[in-house]
């Protein structure tokens, strides 16, 4: 017979230690409180730009090496999968949601793949180039209609070539 589930009461140690009415951050923060925290995140924007540029540089190097040498493509794909996931996660936090969207398209494309043909390699390269453009031109926010069309084009290309 299956064992019955046991319900264990919540541990209230943290609550007892930290929740009070005088010291610390409000449980229900004001918009000003939240802005203070956001300012901390935005302080790191330059670091994000430097890191993303470095990741994209390494991806381009990986692409150049793996284009003529098919044996390098599985490792390159793994690199693309990891770096695109990282950019997808952080881009939007630093007001680069377009980078998040392009990186998501690239990451989705690489999921479950261990190899790619030449056409698919070109599609990966186009994504990397687009990420570079967004970063180099500091396209913050959602971008314009043109950027939105570029994203749509990526989705179509992924559907067709993928």
């Amino acid at each position: 017979m299956a064992r019955k589930a046991q319900i264990i009461p919540p541990q209230t140690d943290l609550k007892r230690r930290a929740v009070n009415s005088k010291v610390g951050f409000a449980i229900n923060p004001t918009p000003e409180d939240l802005k203070k925290i956001e300012a901390v995140v935005h302080k790191s924007t330059d670091k994000f730009i430097t890191q993303a540029a470095d990741k994209l540089k390494r991806l381009r190097e990986g692409y150049r090496a793996a284009t003529p040498n098919k044996s390098l493509r599985p490792a390159f794909l793994k690199q693309v999968r990891e770096e695109s996931l990282s950019i997808k996660g952080l881009g939007g936090m630093f007001n680069f949601p377009l980078m998040t969207a392009i990186a998501k398209s690239l990451n989705d494309f690489t999921q479950g793949r261990s190899d790619v043909d030449d056409k698919q390699m070109s599609l990966v390269s186009l994504h990397i180039d687009a990420l570079y453009v967004v970063l180099a031109q500091r396209i913050e926010g959602e971008g314009s209609m043109q950027e939105s069309q570029v994203l749509d084009a990526f989705q179509e290309a992924v559907a067709k070539i993928g």
Binding site: A2, R3, A5, Q6, I7, I8, P9, P10, Q11, T12, L14, K15, R17, A18, V19, N20, S21, K22, V23, G24, F25, A26, I27, N28, P29, L34, K36, I37, E38, V40, V41, K43, S44, K47, F48, Q51, E82, L85, S86, K88, G89, L90, G91, G92, M93, P97, T100, K104, N107
Partner: protein
Amino acid sequence: MSQSQRIDFAKISFLIVDTNPLAIDMMNDILRMLGAMRIFRATHVDRAIDLLGNEEIDIVITERELGDQSGLELLDLVRNSSVSPNRMLPVIMLTANSEPEHVIEARDSGVTEFVAKPFTVESLYRRLVSVIARPRSFVNAESYFGPDRRRKQIAFSGPDRRAE
């Protein structure tokens, strides 16, 4: 809970686990802004396990993707290993892989809170408040040890819902 209550983050220690130094720095800066003073950092699971065994850590904030390892492995160790310092330790998992299957997998592995990246500071803060001020019961079942996955306790006055 009173609207005017506050959380003294200086009374709580954190462990941040992420392979990306920028992500660790950013989380560290957010926690410091909130008033936290004891913040430990690890860039891989082995170091995190080491810190959990040797330091008093109250809340773990871990990325799901940790290179060749996973935040789920760390979560499994906390929840199910005999060497776990506290099987009920709150674990907040962050990830850019926010597809429903990943959320369900983390929930079924016993995660306390799940935050999809990119996140807003408000959504992160609400998760922190939740684990500190509104701790949940735990369920110890044959195939699951973790926070009660039923979020809302709705009063029910009719006949037994699970009557045989």
